[in-house]
Symmetry: C2
Subunit: 164 residues, 2 copies
DNA sequence: AATTTATGTCAACAACACTGACCCTTTTTG
DNA sequence: CAAAAAGGGTCAGTGTTGTTGACATAAATT
């Protein structure tokens, strides 16, 4: 009776597709106005959440090759959205930080996404929203969940530190 | 006290990114073995859920240009995964159907995604799973929600009809 | 001193999206 | 019935974002 039907999972699959499609389309208009694409957005986002991150660690999060990262990172550095600082302990490392300009763009990019989730929260309430987050966490590969936990925590710290 | 903090939404944004990334990576191995990519997967998936769909309607769901669709659709037709039938009422239309071969591949592709959600369901229970679906539905643009409802229902019908 | 690590860069290539133009067939409209 | 519109196919060119492979440099480690 309470057995799971396959069609339940098909619902879930469709919902993942359409929800992600609308969610990711939000910032596209802003990006295009700046001559950037989604790849630039991803870099901007994870540098924002992990100030001082190294190239190697960023590659690990994005799961792309360094040649692929290099192209968009060069765009962002040349246009003064991201700056590199040579590591204090290890002078081989290039630690990435948003500039004021980069931080401003990042805020603009996440604004529509925050608005979207704010409306969801308003519709379902804080408890259901927390439950949704727990569920989404379980959709992530189990071996990556703790890493994502750390990323989210670090990102939270980065926000409070800059009094954002 | 219970005011929404922006960091709550940042959590949600990160979770969307990582959950979708792992979710969509599931079928990649199978696709590569067949010489197909994610674009082929999307076409296969929506033809499976909407048997007899026209080119125009499929373009509407995928939100790509017909030139972009044509390339992958040609691959799938040439390799006998999808067949076109001339519309009975309107002979201009080319109605798309999966062949037996296409249906088999589609089943293989969704299997790991169904498994993923089955594990989520097992962890949180059917009630929380239903709540998650309602929440995901609210992440979709409000003007598209009813269309997605219809798509999901049609997809459910397509499954029961073929006794899948 | 030799090796490893972190990063950068050049070159070629592939998937997948786009625009613009043009074609054919079939249906609808005036 | 002729003209226009709708559905679909195709050619040509372009851009973004990913890939491999090879090689270079500076700094750290062994």
């Amino acid at each position: 009776m309470s057995k799971a039907k396959n069609s339940d999972f098909n619902d879930a699959i469709e919902l993942m597709f359409f929800a992600y499609r609308d969610f990711i389309a939000d910032p596209d208009v802003i990006l295009e106005a700046h001559g950037f694409g989604r790849a630039h957005h991803r870099v901007l986002h994870f540098v924002a959440g992990n100030p001082g991150i190294s190239i190697a660690d960023l590659l690990d999060i994005l799961r792309v090759t360094k040649q692929s990262l290099a192209r968009v990172l060069r765009d962002l550095i040349d246009a003064d959205y991201i700056e590199q600082r040579i590591g204090a302990h290890d002078r081989r490392k290039r630690l990435l930080h948003l500039t004021a300009k980069g931080s401003a763009l990042h805020s603009k990019l996440i604004a529509p996404q925050e608005k979207r989730f704010n409306q969801v929260l308003g519709a379902i309430g804080p408890q259901a929203f927390e439950q949704w987050k727990k569920t989404m966490r379980l959709v992530i590969n189990s071996e990556d969940r703790e890493n994502v936990d750390k990323l989210i925590e670090r990102s939270r710290d980065a926000r409070t530190e800059t009094a954002n």
